[in-house]
Every structure is written in structure tokens, then in C-alpha cells.
């Protein structure tokens, strides 16, 4: 168990009548990569800005190493920020941007030169010292922003959607690079993003937020495999979320059939949400399946096919490497560990049905089809 570095206690943030953070409690451990993940407006950036000191919470405290720092101005905090869109100084070149913080803390020029040189090397920008910021590509500006923050050797690096402005390929490269940098410098990273893939691939800990509340804290595997509620299940990856009834431990009923599962600890006959990940479903011949349905749509995604299957009016997303044409009648098989049972929450029924909720997966149905369904 790593040591606690930052603790947020009962943070409340209100802008006018709008409550952006609702008594948030979070402990951030030292030397870990923690990601605040959620849709826009969930309060993740506000949380980051409160840690950086740009915003004062309406109530609640921020502790750093056990000391309250809620009233400390940003320039006195041992944290540095990589801003969304970088906020590099346009009147300074690469070298002077990176040296900015060191010059403010009045380090000897020799020391500054050494540290900026090291930093330039570690973000692979050697030879760019005297380039003006405007002449750099997005990825290069990104590196300067990271170097400008890290050169001050903060105890925590705060990153506010730093990869948002980059194209997909560059984003992937930077994800690896960021994780590597974090392990090399061995400090805490607090990373804000709405991109679940980014969160899963870089973090030690993922904090899923919505509407100013923390919904789940866990390792990427936990969050993906054991989502706490329908929102998390839907936000992290693709999910089919079904109504079920927990008959007893390890037994859940859905679609009028009983299935064996690995979950327990529910009331007898408790209504629950059942998550089935599209990649866990095996398609078999109709007579061998637990459930049978008709394929209504198939989209080729490269690695797999997204197959939409209609089971008694409820459409599932199934990801398979085998091709099943539209209108074929197929069966599916579910193994006990493919079924994940969750407690009902305020998010129940809102997500996970691919016949009505197609906004974030809008290429599964074309316009006439969705019109028919409504």
C-alpha cells in the first residue's frame, strides 16, 4: 500500500446554482498514475483545478502530505500542470518556455541549462531549443508542455486532457510515452480525460465520475470487469445491459431463463442489472444456443465484426471474428464468467440497449431503421 499524497475531503464546488462537485472524497497515492475519467461536465477538470489551486472549492479541504493547502495560491503548491491546449508562452522559444519555472525560482543559469538540456533529451526535442513555439507541431508543443512542467520536479503532475488535440496515431504514441515518463520520474500523475481507452491503458487507478460524484474507483481491470453500475459499464467499453433477477447466489434469471453466474451477496429475487460484454459472447448454431435471435446488422471493424442481434425485441451488440450475414438465425452461449451482475442504480435502464441507445454508437443503425424503432 503506497503512501497517501493528496486527500480531497468533502469537496463541494458550486457555480451559481449549479453543483459541479458533490461532496467528493478521494485519496491519491504517491507515485501512482491516477486518472479522473468521465463525460464532459462531470467535474473532473474542476477537481484538477482545485488541486492546482486555480479554483477554491465552495467547501471542503485539500490535503497535501497531510497538510491542508486549500488556501495556498497555485505558485506555492508543489504541483505543476500540463494544460489542455498546452498554454505555452508564445513570446518565448522552446528553451525559455522550459526554463521559465526554474528562472522564477532563481536557480543559477548553469543549473537551469543542465536541467533544461536533460528535459529536452527526455522528451526527444534536442536541437529545438531556439525554435519559436508557433513553428512546432501539436505533438512537439505537447512535449514542450510536459517538459516545462516536469523540469520543476513537482511532486505531482496534473494533466488536463493533454492528448485531446492530437490525432489518433500520435495520441497512441504519447500514451505510451507518458506512462514511460511517469515511471521514469517516479512521481504522481493525476490525469483528466473523457477517453476511456486512454484511462485504461495508462492508469494505475481509474476514478469514474459523473455529475460531480465518484461512481467507482479501481484498477483498469476492476473498472472494466466489475463495473459498479450501468453508467460505468456503458462508459467504459461497450456493454449489453439487461434486466435480471437474482434468484439466489450464483443464479440469475433473464429472458425467462436461468443462468449460472459468479456473483453473490444479493437479496433473494432482487432485481439487478446484468452486464454482458460484446466480446465475451460466443455465437453458436441456433439449436445449441442458450438464447436465439436474428442478426439485424453487421459492421466490419477491422479486427472483428460488430454484429447486432435481436433477441425478442432487445438488441445486443456482439463482437465476433466470424461473419454472420443479416437475417441469419443464430444462438449464443454464455459462460458463468461472461455474466456480471450489478446492483440497480439511478442509471438502470438508461444504457446498454443497442436498439434505443445508439447515440454513442451511431453507426449501428441507419436513419430509417431507427425511425421504425421509435
Amino acid at each position: 500500500m503506497a503512501a497517501e499524497l493528496i486527500r480531497l475531503k468533502d469537496l463541494v464546488m458550486e457555480f451559481g446554482n449549479e453543483r459541479v462537485l458533490d461532496s467528493m472524497n478521494l485519496t491519491i497515492e504517491d507515485k501512482k498514475f491516477l486518472t479522473l475519467l468521465g463525460p464532459s461536465g462531470c467535474g473532473k477538470t474542476t477537481t484538477l483545478r482545485i488541486i492546482a489551486g486555480f479554483q477554491k472549492p465552495t467547501s471542503g479541504e485539500v490535503y497535501f502530505d497531510g497538510q491542508p493547502i486549500t488556501d495556498l495560491p497555485p505558485y506555492k503548491r508543489p504541483v505543476n500542470t500540463v494544460f489542455q491546449n498546452y498554454a505555452l508562452f508564445p513570446h518565448l522559444d522552446v528553451y525559455d518556455n522550459i526554463a521559465f519555472g526554474l528562472r522564477i525560482s532563481k536557480l543559477p543559469e548553469k543549473e537551469i541549462d543542465r536541467r533544461v538540456g536533460e528535459m529536452l533529451a527526455s522528451v526527444s526535442l534536442k536541437g529545438f531549443e531556439n525554435r519559436p513555439i508557433a513553428s512546432l507541431s501539436g505533438g512537439q508543443q505537447q512535449r514542450v508542455a510536459i517538459a516545462r512542467a516536469l523540469v520543476n520536479r513537482p511532486k505531482v503532475l496534473l494533466l488536463d486532457e493533454p492528448l485531446g488535440a492530437l490525432d489518433l496515431r500520435l495520441r497512441m504514441d504519447m500514451q505510451n510515452e507518458l506512462k514511460q515518463i511517469q515511471q521514469e520520474v517516479g512521481i504522481t500523475f493525476v490525469y483528466v480525460t473523457h477517453d476511456q481507452e486512454e484511462a485504461l491503458s495508462m492508469s494505475d487507478t481509474v476514478v469514474v465520475m459523473d455529475a460531480g460524484k465518484i461512481l467507482q474507483i479501481g484498477t483498469p481491470e476492476d473498472i472494466y470487469n466489475e463495473p459498479a453500475n450501468a453508467f460505468v459499464a456503458d462508459f467504459i467499453g461497450e456493454s449489453n445491459i439487461l434486466d435480471g433477477i437474482m434468484l439466489e447466489d450464483y443464479k440469475v434469471k433473464m429472458f425467462g431463463q436461468e443462468f449460472t453466474c459468479v456473483d453473490k451477496g444479493f437479496e433473494k429475487n432482487e432485481p439487478v442489472d446484468v452486464v454482458i460484454r460484446p466480446e465475451d459472447i460466443d455465437i453458436v448454431a441456433a439449436d445449441a444456443g442458450h438464447l436465439c435471435g436474428t442478426v439485424t446488422n453487421v459492421i466490419f471493424k477491422g479486427v472483428h465484426y460488430d454484429t447486432i442481434v435481436d433477441f425478442k425485441g432487445f438488441k445486443w451488440l456482439i463482437q465476433t471474428t466470424d461473419y454472420y450475414p443479416v437475417d441469419s438465425y443464430i444462438g449464443i452461449q454464455l459462460n458463468p464468467d461472461d455474466i456480471h451482475v450489478m446492483k440497480r442504480s439511478e442509471y438502470s435502464g438508461l444504457y446498454g440497449d443497442y436498439s434505443t441507445f445508439s447515440d454513442e454508437y451511431d453507426d449501428i443503425t441507419n436513419a430509417d431503421e431507427s425511425a421504425d424503432e421509435e
Binding site: 505558485y75 500542470t81 494544460f83 498554454a87 505555452l88 508562452f89 508564445p90 519559436p132 513555439i133
Partner: protein
């Protein structure tokens, strides 16, 4: 670059009313007033007026600096307001420009005169009248009053373009508020400062009406002398020579300011 001919009216206008007159000015500046022969005499005799040139420069430099000192905090404050408030304040700043320049200057005369509004107030409470008018101070005051908007507007436009995130970035990297200002805001508003200085200094150095109304014979400026060469003394050749020198002076000033602006624009493209 098609449709270049659309600019023809402007080019003809410029040719007729700027380029041709400029040539005439140059011609007059280098010819004798009586014989019309080529001469440097006009240019040389400007040396007699060197003290007036210097005075014009110092009065307008003083006015420009005052405008900058007064204008910068105003521009900075406006740039921090809500967009709606910004528009209203901008309008208010421009409001005096809607009134006639002559009227505004005459209003100051009425205020500052020995028997004017301010001195009447002072004497009515039993104090001695103050020498408010006919001195350099009054001339500088008149120039500051008239040209202040020309300082504030370019400053405002360059400060409001600065990404507010840069202030946060500076604070994040250890800057106190004052350091954020000197290390980030001030250098980034240099183009505004340069163009504000040009916009105030250029009209101020060539002004003539303000110094006549608010100044004394001791505060006479180049503009006044040029005017008198055409109207009173009737030596248009000397007047033309003086205009030419003034023009060169102004060109140098604009050139310097452009250099500052350009340097910054090169560095300030994206974001």
C-alpha cells in the same frame, strides 16, 4: 490577386491627393521662395527652429508616456471584464472621439482660463487663482485628453487577445501575480504598446491647435510654426521643408513601432 482593379479608385485618390501633394511639398522644400531655384537654404534654416522641434518632441513624448501610464491599467481592466461590459466600456472610451476636436479643446480653455470655471470655483472659496492655462502642462493635458483613446484601444485589443490560460500557466510555474504580469502579460502586450505609442505620438508631435489655445508663445510647437509659414509669414518653402522633416521624424517612429509589432507577430501565430 484577381480583381486588383477594384482598388483603382483608392489608388487614383492616393495618387492625386497624397503622392502628388507630397511631391509638391518636396519641390517647395528644395526651392527658393523668390527665384524658384534649387536650394538647401530652407532645410538649413530649420536649424533656427531646432528648439521648437525639440520642444514639440518633448511635449509629445511626455503626453505619450502619460497616455501609456493612464491607459494601460484602463485597457487591462477592460480586458478582464465580461464581454458585454467590455463592449460598453469600449464605447465609453470612444465617446469623446465623436465630439469635434476643436470643441473639446475649447472646452478645456473654458475650464482652465484665468477667469474660467475652475478658477472661479477656486476664487469663490477665497483662494488665489491658479495659473492653469498657457503653460506646457496645459498643452500636455490637452494632448493627453484628446489622444488617450488612441492609446487605450490598441492596448485593449492586444491585451484581450492574450490567452487567459497563460496567466494560470505562469502561476502554476511559480509566478506571483506581479511576476505573471511582468513576465507574460507585459511582453505579450508589446505590439499594443508600440501601436498605441505611434497612434498618440504621431498626431501629438504635429499638433498645432492645442498648443495655440492652451499654450503660450513659449510653448509653440512645430505644427504652429508650419501653419504660420503658410498663413502669416507666407514662406511656404520653409513650411514645406519643416513638414518634410516632421514627416521623416514620424516615419522613423512608425518604422520603430512596426519592428516591435512584427517581431511579436512572428512569434504569436497559433493558440
Amino acid at each position: 490577386m484577381k480583381r486588383r482593379w477594384l482598388t483603382a479608385p483608392y489608388i487614383i485618390w492616393m495618387l492625386l491627393f497624397t503622392i502628388v501633394p507630397l511631391c509638391i511639398v518636396i519641390y517647395f522644400a528644395f526651392t527658393d521662395s523668390v527665384t524658384g531655384a534649387f536650394t538647401f537654404a530652407n532645410i538649413v534654416s530649420i536649424l533656427d527652429y531646432a528648439s521648437i522641434f525639440l520642444r514639440s518632441i518633448w511635449l509629445s513624448v511626455a503626453a505619450t508616456l502619460l497616455c501609456l501610464i493612464i491607459g494601460y491599467p484602463v485597457a487591462y481592466t477592460i480586458a478582464q471584464c465580461k464581454p458585454r461590459t467590455q463592449r460598453i466600456l469600449q464605447m465609453l472610451i470612444m465617446l469623446p472621439m465623436c465630439l469635434s476636436f476643436l470643441l473639446r479643446t475649447l472646452a478645456w480653455v473654458a475650464l482652465l482660463e484665468d477667469t474660467g470655471i475652475l478658477n472661479s470655483l477656486i476664487t469663490s472659496i477665497g483662494l488665489k487663482p491658479l495659473p492653469l492655462i498657457r503653460n506646457s502642462g496645459a498643452v500636455i493635458l490637452g494632448m493627453v485628453y484628446n489622444y488617450l483613446p488612441y492609446m487605450i484601444l490598441p492596448l485593449y485589443s492586444s491585451i484581450s487577445k492574450i490567452n487567459p490560460k497563460l496567466m494560470e500557466a505562469a502561476a502554476d510555474l511559480g509566478c506571483s501575480r506581479r511576476q505573471s504580469f511582468t513576465k507574460v502579460i507585459l511582453p505579450l502586450s508589446m505590439p499594443g504598446i508600440a501601436s498605441g505609442i505611434t497612434m498618440v505620438f504621431v498626431p501629438a508631435v504635429s499638433t498645432f491647435y492645442i498648443s495655440q489655445k492652451l499654450g503660450s508663445p513659449g510653448t509653440i510647437m512645430v505644427g504652429d510654426v508650419i501653419e504660420s509659414q503658410f498663413k502669416g509669414a507666407y514662406n511656404p518653402n520653409l513650411g514645406a521643408a519643416m513638414s518634410l522633416i516632421l514627416l521623416i521624424l514620424i516615419f522613423i517612429c512608425i518604422g520603430l513601432s512596426n519592428r516591435v509589432t512584427k517581431q511579436h507577430n512572428n512569434e504569436e501565430v497559433t493558440l
